[in-house]
Symmetry: C2
Subunit: 620 residues, 2 copies
């Protein structure tokens, strides 16, 4: 640990190495003044500070806090740089790459320090942005380091800028170790860089009151020694007390062991199947060969937290049933440690604190699984940058399984395996797309959190829910089929709703007979002698397809046309009564438009170029 | 005709009817002041006046002039309203509809007059634009009427605004006959409205000098009585003098009979096939049953003019060969009269004036036909809003037919039949789209002009030219096949280039054998008993396809995959030597991005809402 008093006297001074580099340019890197740049003082940061906070780098030297103004359609950022060298890059990009990124740059040319809106091209070369949309509000030396306050509208209408929208945002950063004569002299490829995924646009949901009889239960890792490897999923089985009666979980929050904030990536609690008499009290890596077989029965999500998320509150009229006869007594805690620096010897007791009450709320909350059945008939051709698969929850199923008063979806967790890039679920009524249930245009399989919806979505009998997943298989040589395996794919949206119904999953897959017609067609159309013969298994048949644009396009055409087989189930094995095979694809006559950036309504006075930064020292 | 002196004294005064309506609101419609609104005086219109001019309505009461500033990326408009009633709408929309249009509105509420940027929704309801991008520079009473000067950037980044780009722009207008309390009270459906197609973004091509020995020849309609019907194509055969020697046409310009400016829509001159000894001296409607069969041999475009176009100049190093041994002695003039008011008894002698010289320029210019072969194997399914067909000019053909120094394309005329909506030709080299030869995102079959390119495009041996046409067949019940008929389709780009080569057409169509595989596949895949049997003709086979998304998507997949048959021809009948069947589709590895609006770079001071208009009277 550094001595904080040392830092107080010289906030943001470069480290010896960088200082040497800077002095090559004959000057100190940053100039500290008590007074801010006059032009910037007018627009002080908002009263309310920054409720959301995340460490950007594994060392924890870059700390980002932010708040969101939905009326201004802008995000206010506070970036704390603990050990400032010659400057930093910070920004956003589609999937966390440093190329084609929308950046702010704080840099020095040796004489002065500057702040500017910039962007990197596909070679990582940084350019000044013709339109300056990141607005610097304050630059201040603090005891902890240099604090930069700036704001950015969600959309800027500058085509070089990132559009801040709902869902995952990939934040990127880069450390400048030496002065640069100009922004154009910087290339991101030579820098120490990194990325952090976060949901920037947190919903503004009012926090319901916690009743007086609320009790808490902590499900935590048992003082685990974090392995010195990049990725560990730790599994730990815990158990409810004997005779634990029926309660409602009404909220939960993360417990992160101090000092491990940059290592604990996400935490989930799963319920094991209700009927299980006993589950071994395992604690170890989830992929360990020692892991008991029984843990595979612990897959029903109870709670989930991911980096950057805060406490999760159920709506005040609903709670998640927990305990009581027939319910799951065993819980599986899973903690994902992300340790790219391979730090050794760190111990951890992170977990989740559940808040529950015996005073049951009006409604039980439930979780409904939407999307695609886990079956190889739904496959993605190889070498595709953005192939889309769709899973349907049909009108026939909602008609049968939902109450006449409908259900309210208030939260959603999206799920795919490694090639998933986008996920969206849309509500369709009478052939018209009405509302987006949840959309993530920058979805990452490495960042799956339960997200509160900004506005609950009502689903009624006869409604249709369509979940579309976009996959990137550019690095694969064979088709990727649907299934449970990590190299197979899923397309799932777990929606949290109330009142709970018997419907646990409403998913689809293409009719297997029509898929055989496709294989037959491929065999006949392609002049090459291939055999995607019916006696082979579907994965073998897909593996035999000679992929070209025709076979790909026809597969996509099949998925967009052929009848489907529906799973409209009470549990993974029990279907609702009815005919669920060879169902027609739901018709969509009118579609919603993709969200597009709205240009900032007010004509903000934007600087034409870089702003000279003079850093005020905190008076406190 | 109105008495102009009357107009001079009361410019823009409402007609009696409208005045009555206005007086219902207890006031006169427009207020005339000598002084302009002070805030607007700063930005006076540019020195150079408005080189381009067009009448918007058939009565000729709305006259639009404009100029283009490529450095400012803005268009300056001057709209002259000859008989102002209570106001006007003027603007642009995708295809000339009054719904979803980007509009300026000049209106009065009875007390004051206002000018504002507005837009109409899909019901034609007008709304004030949150961002005011049409900037009023001057409103002035003149002897001829009210003159409004205003400017608009090409792109505004306001999603409600039309993006002014190369190619056709559909201008729309509407006449307000009575005051409206606000913009929101206006619906376009109740108004007298109209549209006019024009190329707004004229290229800034330097005008080459006309040599001293230049002579002119006028090819004009022989004092034709314009029929009192909406649409007439008039055909007239004229003849070059006996023994007329080889010349170069170096420019041509329209001759429009005075008073008929709003009736003459476009004019073309075609050369008849070189070998023809004699062609009857016909003058009459082109669809007349009296029309001699021989006129079908007069299809080779020599010159073309359309509404809003000015003189056409050949580049100074090239001219179009004309006269001399072996060339066409007979010319077919075709004049399209557009007479929606069905005016009777108007006589017309419009035509084209050719400027030619005996001092031949360095290069002969030529015309090369790109796109699709006229064959039914290229078809568009019915009920499609935007189906794309592509025609290829392959590397093999350019390798063989172009000189090693390449050719320069300097002008282009796009051509489809009735369902064509967009046309673009792209130059591809080494698998990379390099340059757009010509793009029209608002193409109309009713507005086909020869357009000078902003920048000549060099095409070398081994280059590929891909012409893509987008069709709308929403109002058709059967497939639209390729062919000569007006209800069949074409996809053609006539490119004008030099030096002339033997290559007259470089076009493609899907291989007929692969299309038969498609019909076979359709027969087998669709459960219905249909027969797209091989003994039927291709149009019959297409007519038998039971259209659904699968059959449509597979046809598109076929066109995107199957080998092509090339026409790499010296004339419509003579191919270059080589194997032209079963050619592979050219590979395109990287594509150009569609043009997108650039937000105005400078932060213009825009008004927040409507501008009060006070109309200055001209001092002259």
């Amino acid at each position: 640990m550094q001595d904080p008093s040392r830092q107080r006297c010289r906030p943001g001074l470069p480290s010896p190495n960088a200082r040497e580099a800077a002095s090559m340019y004959g000057t100190v890197v940053a100039v500290f003044l008590v007074i801010l740049v006059a032009a910037l003082q007018g627009s002080a940061p908002p009263e309310s500070p920054f409720p959301y906070r995340i460490l950007l780098d594994p060392q924890g030297t870059l700390e980002l806090s932010w708040n969101v103004s939905y009326t201004q359609e802008a995000v206010h950022f506070r970036l704390l740089v603990r050990e400032l060298k010659a400057g930093i890059l910070f920004g956003m990009s589609d999937r966390g790459e440093m190329e084609n990124a929308d950046l702010v740059v704080l840099w020095t040319n040796g004489d002065s320090a500057y702040f500017a809106d910039a962007w990197s091209d596909q070679e990582g070369q940084v350019h000044l942005d013709s339109q300056q949309d990141y607005q610097l509000l304050q630059a201040q030396g603090t005891p902890e380091g240099l604090a930069l306050l700036f704001k950015r509208p969600f959309g800027t209408c500058d085509p070089k800028d990132y559009f801040i929208e709902d869902g995952t945002v990939h934040l990127v950063y880069g450390i400048l170790e030496q002065p640069f004569p100009s922004v154009e002299a910087i290339n991101t490829s030579g820098l120490q860089t990194g990325l952090q995924r976060v949901q920037l646009l947190k919903p503004e949901v009012p926090v319901p009151e916690v009743p007086a009889d609320t009790r808490t239960m902590e499900i935590r890792a048992p003082d685990v020694l974090i392995p010195g490897q990049e990725t560990t999923y730790w599994c730990y089985i815990s158990e409810l007390p004997q005779g634990f009666s029926r309660h409602h979980i009404i909220m939960y929050e993360p417990i992160i062991t101090k000092g491990n904030e940059a290592l604990v990536h996400h935490i989930e609690i799963f319920q094991c199947t209700g009927g299980l008499e006993n589950v071994p009290h395992f604690s170890g890596a989830c992929d360990s060969r020692m892991k008991p077989e029984r843990l595979n029965y612990c897959r029903h999500v109870l709670a989930a937290w991911a980096l950057g998320a805060k406490a999760f509150y159920y709506p005040e009229e609903a709670g998640l049933p927990f305990g009581g006869p027939g319910s799951a007594r065993f819980l599986r805690l899973e903690v994902h440690y992300h340790n790219p620096l391979k730090i050794q010897g760190r111990r951890d007791s992170s977990g989740i604190r559940l808040y529950y009450t015996a005073t049951l709320r009006r409604f039980d909350a439930g979780i409904l699984e939407l999307g695609l059945v886990y079956t190889p008939v739904m496959a993605i051709p190889p070498r595709e940058p953005a192939f889309v698969l769709r899973g349907y929850c049909t009108d026939k199923c909602t008609q049968l399984a939902l109450p006449s008063s409908g259900i309210q979806i208030f939260a959603s967790q999206l799920h795919t395996h490694l090639t998933g890039r986008k996920v969206v679920t849309v509500l369709v009524r009478d052939g018209q797309e009405l509302e987006v249930v949840n959309r993530d245009n920058h979805y990452s399989p490495h960042f799956q959190e339960i997200r509160m919806l900004k506005k609950a979505v009502s689903v009624f009998q006869g409604d249709v829910l369509i979940t579309s997943c976009t996959y990137n298989t550019e690095d694969r040589k064979l088709a990727t089929v649907g299934g449970f395996g990590i190299l197979e794919e899923m397309c799932v949206n777990y929606v949290h709703y109330y009142p709970q119904t018997q419907l646990e999953l409403c998913k689809s897959a293409v009719d297997a007979g029509f898929l055989q017609k496709y294989f037959h067609l491929v065999d006949r159309f392609n002049s090459e002698e291939v055999c995607t013969c019916p006696q082979a298994s579907v994965p073998q048949q897909f593996a035999a397809v000679p992929w070209n644009s025709f076979n790909r396009d026809v597969l996509a055409a099949l998925y967009g046309f052929a009848p489907i087989s529906m799973h409209c189930n009470m549990s993974s094995a029990v279907r609702f009564r009815g005919e669920w095979d060879l169902q027609p694809l739901p018709e969509v006559l009118s579609t919603l438009e993709e969200p597009t950036p709205r240009c900032p309504a007010s004509q903000v006075q934007r600087p034409a170029g870089p702003t000279v930064v003079s850093i005020g020292r905190s008076s406190g």
